[in-house]
């Protein structure tokens, strides 16, 4: 038996390192025909805001080489709807549910964090300072050190549980932001969110996305994400939750070797709704085949 448990900061233990990334897995309910959610280490649910958001206009998606661009823009029914309607339905699953919180201004983040603080059964939140698809707030907080620190400090005061700050890769030096939020009270960091990109239809000479630019995800970004995880792992003491183009167990193991304590499966969920469980089985098989008794032994085990 491989010990699959991992610690992801603030004393929070997951039963295994495989989780699903915010915005790619709905609230889990969308996947119950395909997999047993109880098997997952955790679910980072769709991004939540204080009030209902309609998101961006259509088109919101463009297929690219080995990936896709999205410009969904945090469409969600608001934190109150989550608390009153969604969470009561999903709390029965024996997996860690992570609300992913967003805001246009610091006060929004505080208000959402205070509401999350009152939810019984929720142990951690993901503080999203890296959404590239909203006009105000979002990534703006995550691309400058002072604002990343300010929002993390504010949420730290408002929230008693574990805070995982989701970082943007659209920065000069991601380790500076990571160190900043670590100092501001983050228990862990998750990275990377999507890369700002764009797609053009050469025939119409128009942008494909309604927002012109959008967030690139999928295997196209994996080598850059892996590099950033490695850099951040070496720069901070708090756990790193790695993601970015993980399509199979091999990719997931590479992210763990680079320093991820847990991994998030994102865009791959769109291609195969059962991929998260397949990746978990693949990690377990790798450990068995390589005499790794505890999966945590893979974290940062890169031999350089």
């Amino acid at each position: 038996m491989v010990d699959l448990r991992v610690q992801i900061g603030g004393g929070l233990e997951l039963k295994n390192p495989v989780t699903t990334a915010s915005g790619t897995f709905g609230f889990g309910q969308e996947f119950t025909d395909f997999i047993d959610l109880d098997e997952l280490g955790g679910i980072f649910v769709k991004g939540l805001t204080l009030k209902l958001r309609q998101g961006n206009d259509y088109p919101r998606m463009a297929e690219t080489a080995s990936g896709m661009l999205n410009a969904v823009g945090l469409q969600n029914k608001g934190i109150d709807y989550f608390i009153e309607t969604t969470y009561p339905d999903i709390k029965k699953y024996k997996t860690e549910i992570f609300p992913n919180i967003n805001g246009s201004v610091v006060e929004d983040y505080i208000a959402v964090a205070e509401k999350v603080n009152e939810i019984e059964g929720i142990n951690a939140l993901e503080l999203n300072i890296s959404c590239p698809n909203v006009k105000e707030g979002g990534m703006a907080f995550g691309v400058s050190c002072p604002s990343a620190i300010a929002v993390t400090e504010a949420v730290r005061k408002a929230y008693d549980g574990v805070i995982i700050v989701k970082l943007s890769p659209n920065v000069t030096d991601i380790t500076e932001i990571a160190k900043g939020v670590e100092g501001a009270g983050a228990d862990a960091v998750s990275l990377v969110n999507t890369f700002l990109g764009m797609a053009i239809d050469y025939k119409t000479r128009k942008p494909v996305l309604s927002t012109i630019t959008g967030g690139l995800s999928g295997p196209a970004i994996k080598p850059i994400a892996l590099r950033m995880v490695w850099q951040v792992y070496n720069a901070v003491k708090i756990p790193v939750v790695g993601m970015g183009g993980i399509m199979n167990a091999e990719d997931a193991i590479e992210f763990m070797l680079a320093g991820s304590s847990a991994i998030q499966i994102g865009t791959a969920n769109f291609i195969d709704p059962q991929i998260s469980i397949k990746i978990l089985k693949g990690i377990e098989d790798y450990c068995k085949d390589n005499n790794v008794s505890a999966v945590r032994d893979l974290i940062g085990a890169l031999e350089v």
């Binding site: 969308e30 025909d33 259509y58 690219t64 769109f270």
Partner: protein, 254 residues
């Protein structure tokens, strides 16, 4: 219940050089498929085609475990799906989306154009099983755009319009004479190009009858997780893959 399932290519029927029917066969049971449902098809052996392709189910045979799709080869994914080997494995996620609603209609009109005719085989069959009087109205630019009329004639009367008059009445579907005579349909179902569906919905609304339209949209997941495929409605953005693809046209803010 939705599932992920491997099929094998059983046969192709080419209707012309860019329209074809892909028939797949499975080892396992096929879940119940409703008129309007679609599947997300993974294009096999195509590293450059990242996402699945959402395609309406044309027909299904539960005993023989076959499913077929009417596909128009318009992009790299739909072209590649027309070039597979017989026996090649194709993975699909299905059945997805909502369905055309059949309640207590007595006489209905089904208006289709282009690849939008795909869901109307299953719909026609269901309506026929409930003894509903069905009229199909199929539109195209020329006679070469009109397909499957023999199939549709099993379930009801088939009318055709072509813009060049090479088959049926000349003009757009909305110019057909049936709109000028006594209009006694109690429901209209439509699927095809947006401008056609909008025009059909407008007529239905002016006659005071319900119109359901099945929308096409660029999709990633097909199961309501990514929220990429939205359409504006009078009640905000709705997700086409799970809240649609079939909508009461009165809801749509198009």
């Amino acid at each position: 219940m939705k599932k992920v399932q491997d099929f094998k290519v059983l046969e192709y029927s080419w209707l012309n050089d860019e329209n074809y029917i892909l028939k797949l066969i499975a080892d396992d049971e096929i879940p119940e498929i409703k008129p309007g449902n679609f599947a997300e098809i993974k294009v096999p052996d195509s590293a450059d085609i990242f996402l699945r392709r959402p395609i309406s189910v044309l027909d299904v045979n539960y005993e023989k475990k076959t499913i077929s799709f009417y596909i128009k080869a318009i992009g790299k994914g739909t072209r590649k799906l027309g070039q597979l080997n017989i026996g090649q494995t194709v993975n699909i996620v299905y059945p997805l989306g909502n369905q055309f609603v059949v309640q207590d209609e007595k006489k209905v009109l089904i208006v289709g154009g282009g690849s939008g005719i795909a869901p109307f085989v299953l719909l026609g069959r269901e309506l026929q099983s409930k003894d509903v009087d069905v009229t199909f109205l199929m539109g195209g630019r020329t006679k070469n755009d009109i397909f499957l009329t023999d199939e549709f004639s099993k379930y009801g009367k088939v009318e055709v319009t072509t813009e060049d008059g090479s088959r049926g009445e000349k003009g757009m579907v909305t110019h057909h004479s049936l709109f000028k005579s006594e209009f006694d349909f109690d429901k209209v179902y439509t699927c095809g190009p947006d401008p056609m569906m909008k025009a059909v919905a407008k007529i239905a609304e002016s006659k005071g009858i319900l119109c359901e339209a099945s929308l096409e949209n660029m999709m990633a997941c097909g199961i309501g997780a990514c929220l990429c495929c939205v359409t504006p409605t009078h009640d905000g953005n709705k997700v086409v893959c799970t809240e649609g693809p079939v909508f009461n046209t009165k809801e749509l803010a198009w």
